[in-house]
Amino acid sequence: MDGAQLADPVVIAVDELGTLIGTLRGDGYRVIGPTVRDGSILHGELHELSDLPRGWTDEQAPGTYRLQRRDDEALFGYAVGPSSPKRELFPPRQRLWTATSDGDASFHVTQERHESARIAFLGVRGCELAAIAVQDRVFLQGAYQDEVYVAHRSDVLLIAVECGSPAGTCFCASMGTGPGVTEGADLVLTELLDGEHRFLARAVTEAGAELLAALERGEPTHHDITAREQVIATATAGMGRELDTDGLHDLLLGNLEHPRWDDIADRCLACTNCTLVCPTCFCTTVEDTTDLTGANAFRDRRWDSCFGLEFSHAGPASVRSSTKARYRQWMTHKLATWIDQFGTSGCVGCGRCITWCPVGIDITVEADAIRRASDPGAT
């Protein structure tokens, strides 16, 4: 993927997306994209064009998410839902292995085989591509490669749709991850809603180019090109939130005992929602169980959250027994120590943690509060 140049854009009609879905399915891909389910736009398997959330958008604010009808037929006229590709690439629960008793107090271990799944993601946002790149660093670029992540990640096609409808909680422009897409995908689409409903498409990789080649394509007009630029410009201007990342790492780590953490702790319920919806949070725990006979023992790995009291302990006691300490751990990790560990921020600006926080705690507001309280010159 790296180093590939954006090919010249082409124009495709809306119905060609249906063809694309069919082609991918014919090639053995599970096509995962946005679907309307449970009152929200969730990732689900796409079988045909009509599975997409045509005419829907999402209204988001701190602690608020609502589906709304649009006054057009946009297929990707929303920002992001609570689910992200993380759910497919790093499933919430994974069996690692099974140990089978051989009697005589001995056992043998059978490692779980994680079949490589062919997945094509359709409608991936810039923030989500950035999140995948972050998890790639965590799971693929350390001293060890995570075998489960490798299996799920190795045969994946990423078809991005640039975001034209950022939500009230979005701040990808601050994090430099969107709304436009320049890298990380195989194919990048922009939904154009002015005049005839159509998509501008650019292949980024060979695989993306092959997908495009199977579709009916038109030459883009000058107007199409400027229409795309207009979509990005409008979306950039429409960010509901902003995060000043200048010096943020040192700012937060220099204020680990700032009174603001107490203030947040008064509101935070330590419910773990933010970590579950976050597309980059990677923490896990393991569960060891046996079947009823005791003949088989299992080890499963599942998503965990640093907001849990059990998460961190030294000896029998929890290291972070206060909510204050747990929020501080999450936020300073996300925005600061992640950079020390992985060379990138752990935040991609998708805004999910703000939307899905039941009390509407806003990471951008909290970071800003610490900045203002630490710098008397700031306004």
């Binding site: 001995s106 056992f107 680990l256 923490c283 030294a314």
Partner: protein
Amino acid sequence: MSLADAPPRGPLTGRPYQVSTVRHQTHDIVTIDVRPEQEPIAFQPGQFDMVYVYGVGEAAISISSDPATPGLLSHTIRAVGWVTKALNDLQPGATIGIRGPYGRPWPLDEAAGRDLVIVAGGIGMAPVRPAIAYALRERERFGRVVLLVGARSPRDLVFRDDLERWDADRSIDVHTTVDSAVRGWSGRVGVVTKLIPRVPFDPENAVVLVCGPEVMMRFSAQSLLARGVPAERIFVTLERNMKCGVGTCGHCQLGPLFLCRDGPVFAWPEVADLMEIREL
């Protein structure tokens, strides 16, 4: 013996090994030996393994045996949680799962040509024991070798036979002390940090390895700094809950550090400030 890097084994799945010996060292500390003679497990002093008890779970345990005999692998375990209690109850012949070794080892090469001072508190003897074994074998690489051992009481001292043997051997300078004594103990009483100002070694030309409860390590570091040991030559080993051992489960974070991946051995300046922040 070379201290070359030991290659990592499969990161998530351990391998079963039969327990050959179980040595009950105190009322709550046990040393469990396995003999992977077919495929010896190479490790460096200070590294740890993830040790699994069938159906119960896994815990990060320091390797306490001599790295020169990789065909004998010992883990010394204090009964604290479910897994470590189960390990304390194991019988010879039982099977445990082991994966590792993981973590950054003690910087013994850095101690070459210098005095090597080891401060161990309680179960903290376990991760320094391989370093002592190495130092004894490569005795001429070091100046003075000094071992300061502290425990809660005489009955909490681990590897007492080793301490007696090393002391008799005179090739290392062993000082043992207990926080509280019972009748019949004729040795030192007092915290291990009290030994630091008195014991003969050259502070300006020493490497110090400290392992024990976090509070004991903080006070030890203070005493060592007061004695004139440069901060960057004081090494501590830190402990937090660990699930993966390879820096991807997130549990053992301390500020920017994953203790399993970046440690467990750290130079004092790497962690001194972090250790002062409550609940970090």
